[in-house]
Symmetry: C3
Subunit: 146 residues, 3 copies
């Protein structure tokens, strides 16, 4: 894809909606609000990562995996922050968006120093569902495992 | 707050205004332009942080604290960069916005390597004042002190 | 420049176009698609950095420098990610934009940990050319070399 073939820029409204959605979504996870975070995926949502042997398929499986990780971080006294940035909306219809962004996981232990635990590529299919945006498919590629 | 109860997305114009405001505000501080940076707070602005025993209240107190820190960094030959991201506009009227974002402080000593000195949550009340946006209340929560 | 003299906020559409342009541009470079990345500069584009003795002038020189670096990173098994953020659009006409942002280079070796290799200031002149935005002049100031 050459630059002149890059998709036409999405409407400004759509682009900021995705930015706001990403921010709110990750605030929920980093605040430990797992159920509400999982609700940002569709019921049949897929969360796949090259760090995991098999994808989590369906909101129940996504919730279970996130709850386990969230409890482990809380027990360890570590605050996570997920930073999504460099968002590129690759295609958009009124009902579905594909987006590609970078994601960092920054962890700070209580009394300790922040560290970047993972640098990743995040590829999403986001759909309108129940009056809001939800992730239907998320693919996370951790840079150290490429 | 469930996802379906998330505030309606602010207008795209407002969202980008806040992003631009945050960028310009922190460029001023990182450039050592303390007076102009302090002018991005209201006269009665509050800057509170869990790293400080008491909040700085009023622009004069905010200026004084920032000037002191800025001189110390300059004397040490350290360039700071404040990164605000993952911006979520939580409520908005034409005159006042509440926003929640993440903020990193990245420091680079002359001839040295960049390091993340602090990972924080930033909660702002931003108001229209004198024809521009200004911070009326900023609460910074450093992750290592939670 | 005092805050009250800050340029009027650009249209939301323009601001998001620049964000999307930056994301796509750096995705190309980090994906090793050097030719397409170089095509995001004008034919007479300039890439200057305080880390380099002389600027790269013209798309051919920019391509050559980027290709060399890209091959070295690939050979070393290191994934780079360029994060541009804290974007401030400083001036804008329908044909040309000046913008100032921060840029981080985050590197992850295969099997290793991500590290911030460089924290920089990025100052761009971006012009409409051939139906799209292209960089006409980019000045990178690495914080460790100030």
């Amino acid at each position: 894809m050459s630059v002149t073939e890059l998709p036409q820029s999405p409407t400004a409204g759509l682009y900021q909606e995705i930015q706001q959605f990403y921010a709110q979504q990750m605030h929920l996870l980093d605040d430990g609000r797992v159920g509400e975070w999982a609700d940002t995926f569709t019921e049949d949502g897929v969360f796949a990562a090259n760090a995991q042997p098999v994808p989590a398929v369906g909101r129940a499986a996504i919730t279970e995996a996130a709850a386990k990780a969230t409890e482990a971080y809380a027990a360890a006294g570590v605050q996570r922050r997920h930073w999504l940035g460099m968002v590129s909306v690759e295609s958009a219809t009124p009902e579905a968006v594909t987006a590609r962004c970078y994601a960092l996981v920054i962890e700070t232990p209580r009394g300790g120093r922040p560290e970047i635990k993972a640098s990743t590529l995040c590829e999403d299919r986001i759909v309108r569902s129940g009056g809001t945006w939800r992730i239907q498919d998320r693919q996370i590629t951790r840079d150290d495992l490429i």
